[in-house]
């Protein structure tokens, strides 16, 4: 009897402790998500109710050229950012971890600083640096391509340049994760390996890399989710142009909902993006874990 009472009491305490989270989660995530899915089956405007139209919105999506373009662009952007940003972060982390004391702190904060900036500031900095008429980076571009290029208005340059800006902006956080991972590797392993005459590369290949793999998998997955949600930089730097070459899914959601007043259709696009992120990230994380196990 006492046992049962005790258990009841425990559950009650547990419940009170998780309740704030459940309330917040349900109000700000679960409920909006269910609403979004429900709305995607209606022709609702931005505000207010619409009529039930079944899967019409989804059928329309398949035939929507701009939707296909945005899907491709999202994929291209993921290719441009996810692996490069992880590799760069790893290299920076390895270099920084070799530094000691103040030098390390200084280097770390230098790499972390851009991450602190709001996106509007970041895009403004880069827009100015790459301005066709006055940008200080234009001579550098002229060196590569022969003449100054309005990079955010050029169909070939726009995505790689947005990717570059994004990597510069967000890399600090990944570096931090890698540093934490590196610090978790016991020093004895390196000492033992050194005693056995392992070269520096062998030590990296046999000790650092496998033990760092969980962090790497985490960074890759976080990056994938983050980069699929690309919006701010595109909205501020190129507006989806030129010729839709930087048009992405979230921009489509935004334009359909807030500019065109098509709440239902925008919800359909958002639902597709949500599913895409859920499926791809779970899939990727599982694949990466299998690799670790092998």
């Amino acid at each position: 009897m006492a046992m049962i009472e005790n258990r009841k009491k425990k559950s009650l305490i547990a419940l009170t402790m998780v309740a704030p989270f459940i309330v917040v989660f349900s109000t700000f995530f679960l409920y909006p998500m269910i609403e979004m899915i429900r709305m995607s089956f209606t022709d609702a405007p931005l505000v207010g109710e619409g009529n039930w139209v079944g899967v019409d919105n989804y059928i329309r999506l398949i035939g929507d050229r701009l939707f296909v373009t945005s899907l491709k662009n999202n994929g291209y952007f993921v290719l441009l950012t996810v692996v490069p940003t992880t590799v760069i972060a790893l290299l920076i982390a390895l270099a920084v971890s070799r530094l000691k004391g103040v030098a390390q702190t200084l280097a770390l904060s230098l790499f972390f600083l851009p991450y602190v900036l709001p996106v509007s500031v970041v895009t403004e900095i880069w827009a100015w640096m790459l301005d066709l008429q006055f940008g200080i980076l234009q001579p550098l571009i002229a060196l590569v391509s022969g003449k100054p290029v309005a990079v955010f208005k050029n169909p070939y340059w726009v995505m790689p340049m947005v990717a570059l800006v994004t990597i510069w902006w967000t890399n600090g956080f990944n570096v931090l994760l890698f540093i934490a991972g590196l610090r978790n590797i016991p020093q004895e392993l390196y000492e033992a390996a050194a005693l056995d005459g392992a070269t520096r590369f062998q030590r990296f290949r046999r000790v650092t890399w496998p033990l760092l793999w969980p962090v790497t998998a985490l960074v890759l997955t976080l990056q994938l989710i983050l980069q699929l949600k690309i919006f701010d930089q595109i909205y501020l730097l190129s507006g989806g142009g030129p010729f839709n070459s930087s048009y992405v899914l979230l921009l489509k959601v935004y334009r359909e909902a807030f500019q065109m007043n098509h709440g239902g259709y925008a919800s359909a696009v958002a639902t597709v993006l949500f599913m895409l992120i859920a499926v791809v990230s779970v899939l990727q994380y599982q694949l990466l874990r299998i690799r670790r196990g092998a």
Binding site: G48, G239, P242, N261
Partner: protein, 424 residues
């Protein structure tokens, strides 16, 4: 408990005393910044000083999509302003969204206004099925600025130093070629790398050929497509020949003119105060003027839009009674004092102001005021107007086409593909 009672009593007393003051507060939202904003704030201050019983409480929000989104969501939950500024080119979408409350004849009478007091084009743009949904405040259009000093010695200035002899695209091109030869860096400047500038020039050139952007629910159908392609090709040629700047952002395009590097500028009337102020402070260094965009392609036409006052539809909370009367008093006062707004370059939509001697003495405003008759508004659709898909297309398709990525005809095909299915 006692404290609580005292508080309660105090509150009740204060509330009871309120009607004795009989002060109406009008919540006002606008999107006017820069020179426009300064002038509008001066008008609001002027009104507040003259009307102790009505006080405008103004808030300036961000121009474009953010403004219209906020208005839309705020009015949906009854938290919108009492009165707001609205682009008439945006009215069709506003009507579809049911955001605009009808301005009845009774409302107009309260403001001591009549429909016939206004120019026809903006009234037409604010009307649907015979019902008026906004009170136009101005007409603002694309005009042609010129640098008289740079054109000196050319056949394009008359004895008084006024622009002359540009009656066709050939004349204009010849003038640009003449200026280029004389060493003018960028003979004609406009915002070539942004949506607004590109759309306004494109739409003007299209309209001058008698072309229409949307006819019977179709984007650039029939020979409108060829006319649009021709407009884009003309703009491309200007860039190719080094007559127009490459990928110029708005500020850069204005700076080219004010720095004396351009003989002509195609820009809105709202930049007039910029050059007036520079001239006044002795920083401009050249004589300038502004005229209605000449009929380059046969027909007199120039892109135009209009700022208007509108009352948001907020269901049960849509303002009525005394509050509504106060708002209409505000609107009526603003219209009659629009001379302070004309100072910002705009042409008052209220005819009495535009025909006044005071307005006629304003230069170069009076010179280009004739364009009120040639003003062409964006088509009445949900895909055109400020911050609309048509503006996106200007940035996304027309601007790069001008830079040589694509021919006019191909660009038109893409515009049609992008915009047609949005028209539903």
């Amino acid at each position: 408990m006692r404290l609580f009672k005292t508080l309660l009593l105090g509150t009740a007393l204060t509330l009871g005393a309120m009607p004795a003051l009989a002060k109406e507060t009008v919540i006002w939202w606008d999107f006017l910044s820069g020179g426009d904003g300064v002038r509008m704030k001066a008008l609001i201050d002027g009104f507040n000083k003259e009307h102790p019983d009505i006080q405008i409480q103004g808030t300036t929000l961000e121009w474009g999509v953010p403004f219209y989104t906020k208005v839309r969501t705020a009015s949906a939950v009854g938290e919108g302003p009492d009165v707001m500024t609205y682009h008439l080119s945006r009215a069709p979408l506003g009507l579809e969204e049911n955001v605009l409350s009808e301005i009845t004849n009774e409302d107009l009478a309260t403001a001591e206004l009549k429909r016939s007091d206004f120019f026809e084009a903006p009234i037409d743009a604010a009307t649907k099925d015979g019902k008026l949904y906004a009170v136009p405040f101005d007409i603002h259009a694309l005009i042609l600025y010129y640098n008289a000093d740079l054109l000196e010695g050319s056949p394009y200035l008359d004895a008084n130093g006024k622009l002359t002899g540009i009656n066709s695209i050939e004349d204009f091109d010849a003038a640009l070629a003449w200026a280029k030869e004389k060493g003018v860096e960028t003979p004609v400047t406009y915002q070539t790398g942004g949506e607004g500038g590109v759309w306004r020039v494109f739409y003007t050139l299209l309209s001058q050929q008698g072309g229409e952007f949307v006819t019977n629910g179709e984007v650039l159908s029939g020979d409108n497509a060829e006319k649009a392609a021709k407009a884009i090709d003309i703009m491309s040629k200007w860039r190719e020949n080094g007559w127009a700047p490459e990928q110029a952002e708005y500020e850069a395009s204005v700076a080219l003119f004010s720095a004396g590097k351009s003989a002509f500028q195609l820009n809105g009337v709202w930049e007039v105060p910029t050059f007036k102020d520079l001239e006044k402070s002795g920083k401009l260094g050249f004589k300038w003027g502004a005229v209605e965009v000449p009929a380059l392609l046969g027909k007199r036409a120039t892109w135009a839009d209009s700022h208007a006052f509108a009352i948001p539809n907020e269901g049960d909370k849509t303002i009525s009674g005394e509050k509504r009367a106060a708002v209409m008093t505000v609107i009526g006062w603003m219209e009659k004092h629009a001379i302070g707004w004309a100072d910002a370059g705009h042409i008052p939509a209220y005819k009495a102001v535009t025909t006044s001697d005071e307005y006629k003495a304003m230069e170069p405003n009076a010179t280009y005021a004739s364009l009120a008759e040639a003003a062409v508004f964006d088509p009445k659709t949900t895909i055109t107007g400020v911050a609309s898909p048509a503006y996106d297309a200007a940035l996304n398709i027309i601007a790069p086409a001008i830079q040589g990525y694509m021919s006019g005809a191909d660009a038109v095909e893409q515009i049609k593909a992008d915009l047609q299915d949005k028209l539903q």
